[in-house]
């Protein structure tokens, strides 16, 4: 397990937690400073490239390239017989590009689909790498312990030359992306349009693949073969859940990459016996999980809350409707017994009480012990919902030629979401009717006497 970078033990064997935290933020150790610079550079280059890779639907290509560099690394080692950083880098990049080309070739020229091709190249190249690696180990020449670090990575073992290489690659990636931003953007979203304005999609793709191979090889030193795809995809996926614009996606993705790099480094430094690479990946995964759950626009929880709110509103409005029916055109401020309401809609009486309280909270009714009285706003909304219902029934029977007894259920759904404009349009199209298909009166619109915002915000059609 010594291949996994365990930072803390290297710095101090038995320091307290606070000591470790202090040590971390004083940045006294050179390995630590190198580690910090390394993960920042990796976060930026992987985050930015990963966004393009993910948006182009090639998420697992990075994984494949990451695994596929192993034979390149080993071969470079065999040829040079030392751990020459540049030679290994060149070998790894060549192997990565070869893997990308092989995947492209297999999917293009055979019936094998992309997923199988990616898995094949990933594990096939890795197998060749394992054969090389074990062969080298058994031949026992030179100091080959450094080769293992490509498996799990070790941000603490980054040397000066590694960092220089990382800086060059990151700078190159940023410069190329900035210079040809529109090319990358257009080919990512609309390949046909790109072709029509003369952007060479294949060239752009090749450039992206090359940069990807470079960035992956550099990142391998920090997080290792298996987890490198996390550094590409997890920050990008997080950003994709938070923003809609490409520029923002890139920026957020890079920020998440940098943050999780630092957080992972910190955690593995502070706590004993936690490897750096997996820690960085877990930090990024946590960011993703948070975005997946809580992203304001696309998160699971906000979506759930909206759905609950809507169903509450629909419950309230159904009760309003029942109350409107019981009032039966009498005076709107008459008290209605909750038991009657429960009978009218076949509800449990506890349920009616809960919904009535909910009506009181939004100012649509006042609730007494056994009954409730609609407020003017409540009465107006009740009339509006009934009106929506009956107008829609009429529309379905007249315009869509449905039978009278088939329209109720549909109207029951749509009455809650019809906006005022659509109702006005319906009314015009139906020539201001007064009776619905069952012969009941369609209540006329009641002009707002309280604040108009209350009704419109309640009755607004929810975008979800």
């Amino acid at each position: 397990m010594d291949a996994i970078g365990v930072l803390a033990s290297r710095v101090s064997a038995d320091a307290s937690l606070v000591d470790q935290i202090v040590t971390f933020f004083s940045f006294g150790h050179l390995t630590l400073v190198y580690g910090v610079i390394g993960v920042v550079l990796m976060g930026i280059s992987c985050g930015v490239l990963g966004s393009f890779v993910m948006l182009r639907g090639m998420s697992l290509l990075g994984d494949s390239i990451g695994h596929a560099v192993l034979p390149g690394v080993c071969l470079a080692f065999v040829v040079m017989q030392t751990k020459n950083v540049v030679a290994i880098f060149v070998g790894a990049v060549l192997a990565g590009v070869l893997a990308a080309l092989a995947i492209f070739g297999i999917t293009r020229y055979s019936r094998i689909k992309a997923d199988a091709a990616i898995g094949l190249i990933l594990s096939g190249f890795f197998g060749v790498g394992v054969v090389f690696l074990t062969r080298i180990q058994r031949m026992s020449f030179g100091d080959q312990s450094g080769l293992d670090k490509y498996m799990f990575g070790d941000a603490a073992a980054l040397g000066r030359s590694d960092l220089q290489l990382m800086a060059v690659v990151t700078a190159a990636v940023l410069v190329v992306l900035a210079a040809f931003f529109r090319h990358f953007q257009v080919t990512t979203f609309d390949e046909e349009f790109a072709a029509s304005i003369g952007i060479p999609a294949r060239g752009v793709h090749a450039a992206l693949m090359t940069m990807l191979a470079l960035a992956i090889v550099v990142a391998l030193q920090a997080v290792g073969v298996v987890l490198v795809s996390a550094m590409l995809i997890t920050p990008a996926a997080t950003a994709y859940l938070l923003t809609n614009r490409l520029q923002w996606t890139l920026a957020v993705s890079a920020a998440v990459g940098v943050f999780s790099g630092l957080a992972g480094l910190f955690l593995s430094f502070v706590f004993d016996r936690i490897p750096t690479g997996p820690c960085i990946v877990l930090a990024a995964s946590t960011c993703f999980a948070l975005a997946y759950l809580f992203s304001p626009k696309m998160g699971l929880v906000p979506g759930l809350i909206t759905r609950i709110r809507n169903s509450r509103r629909i419950q309230r409005e159904n009760l309003l409707k029942a109350a409107y029916g019981l009032l039966n055109c009498g005076p709107p401020d008459r008290e209605i017994a909750l038991a009657d309401l429960a009978r009218a809609r076949a509800y449990e009486s506890s349920f009616v009480r809960r919904v009535a309280r909910s009506l009181r909270r939004v100012g649509m009714a006042t609730v007494t012990d056994n009954g409730m009285v609609l407020s003017p706003a409540g009465y107006r909304r009740a009339a509006q919902v009934v009106r929506n219902h009956r107008l829609w029934e009429l529309f379905l029977t007249r315009e869509a030629s449905l039978a009278e007894d088939h329209v109720h259920r549909d109207a029951e759904e749509i009455e809650h979401v019809l906006g005022e404009e659509i109702v006005a349009q319906l009314e015009r199209d139906l020539d201001n009717p007064t009776l619905d298909p069952h012969g009941r009166r369609i209540p006329p619109p009641i002009p707002s006497v309280v604040s108009p915002s209350e009704v419109s915000s309640e009755g607004a059609v929810d975008a979800r």
Partner: protein, 538 residues
């Protein structure tokens, strides 16, 4: 370096015979393990490849680590039951998480796979390194695998063999369900096959296989064993049963050969198995008789050569349309017309000459032989008919037609062309106003054909009606009162009907339907738009 070469010399006795004689026991258990893993993976792999779920297999194989660590932390045991349970839970959780993410958000499936398996793998590594010190749950071994140690773990081998057997039997028992849900999920749903249950059972199978085989081949190399034999088989056959059998065969060969290769090169057996499987895939990719790259390239270049030949024939024909023409087309003219290099033109000409389509005239030129003329007419006919079809039936603008027609004309079979001709009502002109030629064989005097194929000013005799004529049509044809065995002159087409002038001076209008039914003997044909006689019978 101790001077040992990277690739050692191969010694048949040392690397092939000895393992099965002196070291039989070790070999037996190692090979048994390899073969069991290979068989289980090969069977499952077929369905993964067909369902385009190969990468889910990859994801499961990585994510299992967290299940193993979790099971160990909870039970404190490294026994098979705990590990297998942990693996199944982790595997199914992986599949469910991936599904949840890509169902409930805009994240696509591949990105969801990448996010989920890396997170679970990282968690597994952290759990193992942090909490299981001194326990033999080695992340290195999980990645590389060590088949070599199998003879020390004979119980593991027996478990793996049992898993392989159960999987093979299970696939045999539920073959119908598996193939239904793999090929036609809609159909499967309609006949009540529980697709989700099948899917999750398959994934549970993958989990069990991977966890049992993990110590042997490792999490990454097990992916080769899952995909490579199945993909190899997929390239070699089209039937599912045969695919499974070939896949198992490939897996077994990879396992056995890999063992010997590893002995020879003195390297990881799992790695060597993976390499052998990949090499087999590469061979199938290149040389598969039906789906191989070599065959595809050969087919494509044959087609390209055919297109070049046909384009050349057509160019010569259009330059000097009549077969009797004595002028020869020079290769300079042709290369200019076809925008090709003269040497390419010459090469194609030579080929056509050898096949008897062209003959050399003097030094510089070539002209069509009779066979060549017939062929060229057929090509021009195909081109113009297809153009007409695109404009008339598909609503393509007539000035956009050319490039498309150019591609398809070389692929249309005779039968299809006849059908197109019939659908279009046997047209005389293409959308550009050029005449659509008919086959030369059809245009000799004495040929028996249908009235629909005849054109203006040709003379023919009615012989009868075709065998496919319906009763109603017979009545309508009888009503026309066409005399048998008398020369009739074909008049101009008006819309989609044919006009026929009788010897007594009266004319008949015949619609397409009936014109297809009336069998005539052609008495005086017209070739190349030239008039062979007056409109009236002389």
């Amino acid at each position: 370096m101790h001077g040992e070469p990277l690739i050692r010399s191969f010694d048949f006795h040392e690397h092939v015979v000895r393992p099965w004689t002196t070291d039989f026991e070790i070999t037996f258990w190692v090979v048994a393990m390899g073969v069991s893993v290979a068989v289980a993976c090969a069977v499952l792999g077929c369905f993964l490849v067909l369902r385009k779920k190969a990468l889910i297999g990859d994801a499961i194989s990585h994510a299992l680590l967290v299940g193993l660590a979790g099971a160990f932390l909870l039970t404190g045991s490294r026994g098979a039951p705990a590990m297998i349970t942990g693996a199944i839970v982790a595997g199914l959780a992986t599949v469910a998480l991936i599904e949840a993410i890509h169902r409930n958000s805009r994240i696509k499936e591949d990105a969801a796979i990448a996010v989920v398996f890396t997170a679970l793998f990282a968690l597994g590594v952290v759990l193992i390194t942090r909490f299981t010190e001194g326990v033999d749950l080695d992340a290195q071994c999980v990645l590389y695998g060590e088949v070599e140690g199998s003879w020390l773990r004979q119980d593991d081998v027996k478990t793996m063999a049992a898993v392989a057997l159960v999987l093979v039997l299970g696939v045999a028992a539920f073959f119908k369900e598996l193939s239904f849900t793999s090929f036609d999920p809609m159909m499967a749903a309609s006949v009540g096959v529980p697709a989700r249950a099948v899917h999750y059972s398959l994934m549970a199978g993958v989990s069990v296989t991977v966890v049992c085989g993990m110590e042997a081949v490792g999490a990454i190399l097990v992916v080769t064993m899952l995909i490579a034999p199945a993909a190899t088989a997929y390239l070699l056959t089209d039937g599912l049963r045969r695919m499974i059998v070939i896949s198992i065969g490939c897996g077994v060969v990879a396992a056995v050969l890999g063992y010997h290769v590893a002995l020879w090169l003195d390297c990881s057996t799992a790695g060597a198995m993976s390499v052998v499987a990949t090499v087999m895939f590469t061979a199938a990719l290149l040389a598969s008789p039906r789906h191989g790259v070599v065959m595809r390239v050969a087919r494509r270049s044959r087609l390209a050569a055919k297109i070049a030949r046909e384009n050349l024939l057509r160019a010569i024909y259009l330059m000097h349309p009549a077969p009797q023409a004595a002028e020869a087309a020079t290769s300079a003219e042709l290369s200019q017309r076809l925008r090709l290099l003269p040497k390419d033109v010459d090469r194609t000409c030579l080929r056509l000459q050898r096949a008897g389509w062209l003959e050399r005239v003097g030094n510089a030129g070539v002209k069509l032989t009779e066979k060549g003329t017939a062929g060229a007419r057929r090509i021009v006919r195909a081109h113009r008919l297809w153009e007409t079809f695109l404009v008339d039936q598909m609503g393509v603008a007539s000035d956009h037609v050319h490039p498309d027609a150019e591609e398809v004309e070389h692929l249309l079979s005779e039968k299809l062309l006849e059908r197109v001709d019939d659908i279009l009502g046997h047209p005389i002109q293409d959308p550009h106003g050029s005449r659509i030629p008919r086959e030369l064989e059809l245009l000799r005097a004495g040929v028996v054909t249908t009235l629909a194929r005849l054109r203006e000013r040709e003379i023919a005799r009615v012989q009868g009606i075709s065998r496919t004529t319906s009763g109603a049509e017979v009545a309508r044809i009888a009503a026309l009162g066409l005399p048998l065995g008398v020369d009739l002159v074909i008049g101009p087409r008006s819309g989609s009907s044919w006009t026929v002038r009788l010897p007594d001076g009266t004319a008949r209008e015949i619609d397409h339907e009936l014109a297809d039914r009336i069998v005539v003997e052609l008495r005086r044909p017209q070739v190349g738009g030239r008039t062979h006689g007056p409109w009236e019978i002389a």
